[in-house]
């Protein structure tokens, strides 16, 4: 089955370009991540792919069909977990699944037969008759995930699936997504949690202002865009300042130094000289760690707030 391919997608609202020439293709069975700050164009990309927003230019094929021309038919093969929960508050958990199955033209008997297994997957066995208002945030997300599976899709779109969840609930969602990937499903995920992307995604793209600014496996992206090691240096309050140290001394040890607030981030390939130097400094603390996706993300998209 074909998944999703997008070629040279453009979309502007007024004079603001939201998508400025996106091209990407999902491989069968992979988890592909779209990462980017708020307003980068992640959700617009998903909406275009589903035929809910018509792009100004570009070609989209979803499940082998051209979008938006045949988007409605293509959506029959896709499962979607939207950013905001939109479960039906008037229905129980089981009724939500039943009614949603009807939108796919599925017979009630066929959906009813799948409901116990869908609820079990969502960790909601025994909650079939629970009202939506009585479910926790994590339960609602899992029920939304189960709802997205009602048509047994091969391709899943998840728009920030773990935003607002506590760590336990996030880990459970990650576990379920790994199970789905193990079953051979293809997943398109948007997130701004870098640890989520590093854990789940086979490949990912970092987006900003409607363009891809990096694409590849998490390791490839890290290797291509940033030095392998990071030393974060903090001053002891009242004793010394990491900012002053960074200004006067850091350049001789690190290829690149960024100061954010009272912390100096040193990016380097060989950290030994810096660590020896820091060991002799009084009043400075430090943390030495390998570079991660968050470092790349902040390097490429900047540290300024996006609201």
């Amino acid at each position: 089955m074909e998944t999703l391919s997008v070629v040279d997608l453009h979309k502007a609202y007024g004079t603001t370009a939201v998508l400025a020439g996106l091209t990407f293709e999902l491989r069968r069975g992979e988890c592909y991540g779209l990462l980017g700050p708020n307003g980068a164009g992640k959700t617009t990309t998903l909406r275009c792919a589903l035929g809910l927003t018509t792009p100004d230019a570009g070609t989209i094929r979803l499940a082998g069909l051209p979008v938006p021309q045949r988007a409605r038919e293509a959506r029959a093969r896709i499962g979607i977990v939207p950013q905001m929960d939109n479960l039906d508050p008037d229905f129980t958990a089981a009724e939500n699944l039943l009614v949603y199955g009807r939108y796919f033209g599925l017979a009630d008997a066929a959906v009813r037969a799948r409901i116990p297994q869908l609820l079990e997957f969502a960790g909601l066995t025994g909650r079939a008759d629970a009202k939506i208002a009585t479910l926790s945030g994590g339960m609602k997300r899992r029920l939304t995930l189960a709802r997205a599976l009602v048509n047994d899709p091969d391709l899943l779109f998840l728009d920030e699936p773990t935003t607002g969840l506590d760590p336990q609930a996030r880990h459970l969602i990650w576990e379920r997504l790994k199970q789905l990937l193990a079953q051979g499903k293809t997943v398109l995920l948007t997130t701004h949690f870098m640890d989520e992307a590093e854990r789940l995604c086979h490949r990912l793209a970092i987006m900003d202002r409607g363009r891809f600014i990096a694409e590849g496996s998490p390791r490839e992206v890290i290797a291509a865009h940033i030095e392998p090691e990071v030393v974060e240096v903090y001053g002891e309050p009242g004793e010394s300042s990491a900012v002053a140290w960074a200004r006067d001394e850091a350049a001789q040890f690190a290829a690149r130094v960024e100061v954010a607030g009272e912390t100096a981030f040193c990016y380097l390939t060989d950290s030994h000289p810096l660590l020896r130097h820091l060991a002799g400094q009084r009043g400075l603390r430090y943390l030495h760690r390998p570079a991660n996706l968050e470092d790349v993300f902040l390097k490429l998209t900047g540290r300024d707030l996006r609201d």
Binding site: Y13, L50, L52, T53, T54, P68, R72, E73, R75, A76, I80, P82, M84, N86, L87, D88, P89, D90, F91, E95, V99, Y100, R102, Y103, F104, G105, N151
Partner: protein, 259 residues
């Protein structure tokens, strides 16, 4: 794509209609009582109160005159409330439409489902009043059963007009304008409570283009056991309102939601 292109209608609206029906079924008894109470209070209160002061109105006792008006009034209110407040909740507050649009259902199907659902619900409340009117002996013959298709058609027209407002509304407050500037004046100009002939000529001219007038002019003769004069014209006007307003509502909704 032009958002005002023609509607593309399909039977896929049925699962969406069933969704609304299932919600209604859970709350059916309070909902029916609510729909019934308001027009019954008008009908009995005004009917007994004013009716005793009046000789016959339009050749029938005032109570019987009012019953046909009350059915149309109730149909209009029921369809309008559903297409405004309930549909707006599903579109804007609960994001029910968003969830449905992620399935293989088009916005055209969702709007059609809302239209038919609001008309169905209006039909239920109109039918309830009709039953009460019949029980009170205010209905002359079984010809009155023809009121049921009339109120369904009127329900479609008022639901379609309501959906236009819903597609435009920034919040629930917006609907107040629709009631005070359109629904309430229309109720007073359409011959629900008194014959339109009582009004000055200018008001009668306005009345002639209002959908509620045409519904009343169909329902009232049917209640007294007569075939309505110019039935085809009244049906055509109501159908015209339904089709035109639905098309407009769909265009506005596409512009709002599929941007």
């Amino acid at each position: 794509m032009n958002p005002f292109r023609p509607p593309s209608l399909s039977l896929r609206f049925i699962p969406v209609w069933r969704r609304n029906f299932l919600v209604w079924r859970k709350l059916a008894i309070p909902s029916i009582l609510g729909n019934l109470a308001d027009p019954m209070i008008y009908m009995l209160g005004l009917g007994y109160g004013i009716g005793t002061l009046l000789p016959e109105v339009g050749g029938v006792p005032y109570m019987a005159f009012l019953a046909a008006g009350a059915v149309c009034f109730s149909t209009m209110n029921s369809a309008t409330f559903e297409a405004l407040y309930s549909a707006f909740s599903r579109m804007q507050v609960q994001k029910t439409w968003d969830a449905i649009l992620n399935a293989p259902v088009a916005l055209d199907d969702v709007l059609l489902a809302e239209l038919v659902w609001a008309a169905s619900k209006a039909c239920l409340s109109g039918a309830a009043i009709l039953a009460v009117a019949a029980a009170l002996g205010l209905v002359a013959s079984p010809l009155a059963l023809w009121t049921l298709p009339v109120i369904f058609l009127a329900g479609l027209a008022f639901a379609a007009l309501g959906l236009v407002m819903t597609a435009l509304a920034p919040s629930y407050d917006f609907f107040m304008y629709y009631f005070t500037l359109f629904v309430t004046p229309m109720t007073l100009l359409s011959g629900v409570f008194f014959p339109v002939e009582q009004l000055p000529a200018a008001f009668q001219a306005v009345s002639a283009v209002l959908p509620l007038s045409h519904a009343v002019q169909l329902a009232r003769p049917l209640f007294s056991g007569e075939v309505p004069a110019q039935a085809a014209l009244h049906v055509a006007v109501l159908a015209g309102y339904a089709v035109t307003a639905f098309w407009l509502a769909l265009g506005l909704a596409r512009r709002r939601l599929l941007k």
